[in-house]
Subunit: 385 residues, 2 copies
Amino acid sequence: MRKPRLMTPGPAPVPEDVLLELARPVIHHRSAEAKQVIVEVAEGLKQVFQTKNEVMILTASGTGAMEAAAVNTVPPGAKAIVLNAGWFGSRWASICKAHGINAVSIDFEWGTPVDPARVAEALRAHPDAVAVMGTLSETSTGTGHPIEAIGKLVAATEAVFLVDGISGVGAMECRTDDWGIDILCVGSQKALMLPPGLAFVTVSPKAWAKIDAFEAHSFYFNLKSARKKMKEYDTPFTPAHTLILGLRASVRRLLAEGIENVWSRHKLMSEACQAGVRALGLELFSSRPAEGLTAFRVPEGLKDSAIRDKLTERFGITTVGGQDKLKGKIVRVGHMGYMDELDVISGLAALEMVLADLGFDIKPGAGVTAAQQIFIGRKQAAVQA
Amino acid sequence: MRKPRLMTPGPAPVPEDVLLELARPVIHHRSAEAKQVIVEVAEGLKQVFQTKNEVMILTASGTGAMEAAAVNTVPPGAKAIVLNAGWFGSRWASICKAHGINAVSIDFEWGTPVDPARVAEALRAHPDAVAVMGTLSETSTGTGHPIEAIGKLVAATEAVFLVDGISGVGAMECRTDDWGIDILCVGSQKALMLPPGLAFVTVSPKAWAKIDAFEAHSFYFNLKSARKKMKEYDTPFTPAHTLILGLRASVRRLLAEGIENVWSRHKLMSEACQAGVRALGLELFSSRPAEGLTAFRVPEGLKDSAIRDKLTERFGITTVGGQDKLKGKIVRVGHMGYMDELDVISGLAALEMVLADLGFDIKPGAGVTAAQQIFIGRKQAAVQA
């Protein structure tokens, strides 16, 4: 017997009741029943994303939401500042390139956070930048970026702040309006606890002003069309409606738990996972870890594939390795969405046993114990408070 | 009790075993297991689409596939001939407009088929056209277009033939390679018996030559990236993987039935539905009906919404009305995908009862009988052959 355990930084596990929604007979996407579903998820997502702005629903991967954000706000030939500290930061630059947007890439070492001081400097050097493109959680390095601080800087300029929140939203604090995020891009398959296939963008009045100022070279990702249809709780094209049905169930779960509690749960799992990994003598890759995943360096003398394959073979656990220049150098473990304390402990226990198997010198139980101490400590602190 | 019966020209009913695939725990889209699924569906879809060309899988509505086809083959400023005989024909023109493609629209009366003679004329008048954009089944009017004849004309030129097969493929004969279709665009929610959320394009060598000749202004719908990843049975971005799992089940069904038998089943349902509608004294809207849906004119003195609402209230049947200039003028009934003879007979029986209720003068049983005569006659002809 091998129980499958999905511990990747997206897709993430989906609750059984959400999965069962996906198996319901298909209904027409423009029926009264379907509209009612969109009304509920559109309003619910505003709470999840902490925004009063409209939320547009796209049938696409998260990258589609990023392209929609970029191509609708920045005309070809205009300038955008790209905050690039990993594979997904560089995706903004690739999207700009495809659309003839003049991307000024501010590069940071992979595994380190974006430094707001350098953003301020870039904004001063490029007052003509139409947009700043950033990342809440850089999935390729497991790094959380200081979006609140950057948002304050961008808000003081004419530029709009576009944020890839795909692996971050739900897994870490993100206050769209308070932090000055003009367009937040989200994917369904991470902390929103759905399979992949839907993407979302929130759009601020400041962003709408940019969008209304020119005709974007996009038909499918045209946000003007999306806004027009969303006023009637509809979409311009046939949406992945079964996923929207599932979304209703997952949004209900998130709101029942309370979004701040959802963030706290992830923060705790993240701290416990980091403590466990460190207690095993492993080195975290990021100097400012994201809260939906943990990335650690592959220890000297071991191959990442050996660790990951053994996790799968013995325990049904799926993790991912490094991308691009990090290939073979790190292992990334997801703990976002439908996951709790015991999932993190199970993952650490499995990692301990696999490392022991591979001859790596660890103290069995050390990782699990370190994680438990975090969970116990937090509980006690909550009781005392 | 009200049993839901989805009789819209997309989405169409999905078999229960396919629905249950969608409720399986999510797996990682780059795992060995996921790759195996893509291998199977990519090969299976070639048979369904009758092509030796590669099939690309996109996470999008069918419109995304159309945009991918247009934007990757026709550079901005270049010319395309659009065959426009309905709402979806005009969508090609809208996509061209968004991308600065010079669309020469050859317009036909809604409800009539594209006339190949006028296509030949347009090709002569515009030898610089890079593409011809057509529609297999115009969903807005319920018309099937003579794609084989048009394909032969386009094949003799330098232009590529892009065909929106979204509501046609699977529901009516479509031989991609034999008919000279360079890019066939397909959506998941029609005769492929899946919920919406996936789209497909087949790409011929002639189309790849156009694609390789310039850099398309699209990141998410870039077919060069899709081709590169598809060589490893992967996709450039996280795909709607649960839908791909469902697709495997539906493709297995299509191949088990045999694609020519699938076409015959739809042809028969279509003829029976047309005969039934006519026997009730209703007028078909199209002079060359498509085979996945039937559109009839709303009879004098009745409102389309009265017919459609009563079908829903009494029998749980969902149909759709007219789009754009056909609003209120026609009713469209889908009979594609997971549907058989008795579904058509049920739909006609319901229509009879609803029309009688509304005071429309019909002979009860006339529609059902006419449909049965088609089904019986075809069966007898098959036995005699």
